[in-house]
């Protein structure tokens, strides 16, 4: 098994793990972590395509690698925006739920 194939399989596993966490965790920050796991898994799968592209006599294919670099920065920007939204939501309502019905039914458990 070459390192590229192994890294690709790790990427696939990361996407699966991230998807599981994204759906099941109620906490928005945990969802964000899970989403970032999916993202890095996708980058890895994309990255092994780069490793395989030795066709031009290079040791790697620079095109996917360059796009992964761009992708990492964009993923960070999106995470930062998400964190700002989550923090504002918590400051505004002192709760963090994404449950749409939470707004309609009065909930005695956590006083707002």
């Amino acid at each position: 098994m070459t390192p590229s194939v192994l890294a690709g399989l790790v990427g696939a596993a990361l996407v699966g793990l991230g998807l599981y966490g994204l759906i099941l965790h109620p906490h928005p920050l945990r969802k964000l972590l899970a989403f970032n796991l999916i993202g890095s898994g996708v980058f890895l799968v994309f990255g092994i395509v780069a490793r395989r592209g030795a066709a031009a006599g290079l040791r790697f294919d620079p095109v996917p690698q360059a796009m992964v670099i761009t992708g990492i920065v964009v993923a960070f920007a999106a995470s930062a925006l998400a964190v700002a939204l989550i923090l504002r939501l918590s400051a505004e309502t002192s709760r963090l739920t994404l449950d749409p019905e939470a707004w309609t039914k009065p909930d005695g458990k956590d006083a707002t």
């Binding site: 890294a7 790790v10 599981y20 972590l33 796991l37 040791r59 670099i69 920065v73 964190v83």
Partner: protein, 317 residues
């Protein structure tokens, strides 16, 4: 099984193990620390894939800057008890989700195993671009970023500005025009000041070195900019400097400088060399370095502003 493949399997197990911890940890902060460790570990995988440029970006952005963002958020949100309903999803739903996740993972895994051989590649085109418009750049990745796929790189800078605008607009109306909350509420602490004072100059030097070396060796505008951003954050964390108000002229100019210079160079290419983002061959390298220098400035300004968050009302005078 060779020694190297044993090492690869070890690394793969470690990465997946930390990822599982991030998902499965019982408390929020444990998961966040796990994710920061995971970000640092990813740099290893990229080294194994002969991608030092990506490893550097992952270490700087994924490990360092994201670490500060998430740790801060995790600590603040951890203080909020009962903010999230405790209700655990039912077992059937859990199993269904696990099955779905496994299915997706297996599909991607199968796709990885069935990739065509020899792989299709844009590398020859990129190599041609590196010899053509991006002439004189020994680092093929920089050539791709600045010449072959320059449009992507410019739009990515625009995305950074949009994200900064997005983060700023999350603040309250009253706070608009003010500065983001300081990175540290209490007064500075001597060991922290010492740390910032020795780290920041060295880090700035290394950041500029990475940018400069990026034309021929691993490194480049992203990595250099991210390091400079991290060093600005370190000095703000030690309260050697304060976050600037969001309506500071110099801050806004630095934020737009990168994409603006990029766009101007692109439009000039339309006039001088006949197509958008075409550089005259004799001037290609100086022009690319000029654009990259302004990109470094924009990245170094944008990343700390993203971490600092929206402007806040000053509580301390």
């Amino acid at each position: 099984m060779t020694l190297l493949s044993i090492l690869d399997v070890e690394l793969a197990l470690l990465i997946v193990g930390v990822a599982i911890w991030t998902i499965a940890a019982r408390d929020l902060f444990g998961a966040v620390v796990g994710y920061v460790a995971y970000g640092l570990l990813l740099a290893f995988v990229w080294i194994r894939l002969y991608a030092p440029d990506v490893a550097l970006t992952e270490a700087a952005v994924g490990g360092g800057v994201t670490g500060v963002l998430l740790i801060t958020a995790g600590k603040r949100l951890g203080a909020l008890k009962n903010a999230v309903p405790d209700a655990q999803p039912r077992l059937a739903f859990k199993l269904l989700t696990a099955a779905l996740a496994a299915l997706v993972a297996c599909a991607i895994g199968a796709a990885v195993l069935m990739l065509p051989d020899p792989p299709p590649s844009l590398a020859p085109d990129a190599a041609a671009a590196a010899n053509g418009a991006g002439a004189g750049l020994g680092n093929p990745i920089t050539a791709v970023l600045m010449s072959y796929r320059s449009f992507d790189t410019m739009l990515e800078k625009v995305v950074l500005i949009l994200a900064v605008i997005g983060v700023w607009s999350v603040g309250t109306d009253k706070a608009w025009g003010g500065a983001p909350a300081p990175f540290r509420k209490a007064k500075s602490y001597p060991p922290m000041v010492f740390f910032a004072q020795f780290l920041a100059p060295v880090g700035v030097l290394i950041g500029i070195h990475l940018f400069w070396a990026g034309a021929n060796a691993p490194g480049g505008a992203f990595q250099g900019g991210a390091l400079l951003a991290a060093m600005w954050m370190v000095t703000m964390m030690a309260r050697l400097v304060e976050p600037p108000p969001v309506d500071a002229q110099w801050l806004r100019l630095s934020l737009v400088a990168g994409p603006a210079v990029f766009l101007i160079a692109g439009l000039a290419g339309e006039i001088v060399a006949g197509s958008f983002f075409a550089y005259p061959p004799s001037l290609a390298k100086p022009i690319i370095l000029l654009i990259e220098a302004f990109m470094v400035l924009s990245i170094a300004a944008a990343l700390p502003m993203l971490v600092a968050g929206p402007p806040s009302e000053r509580t301390d005078p």
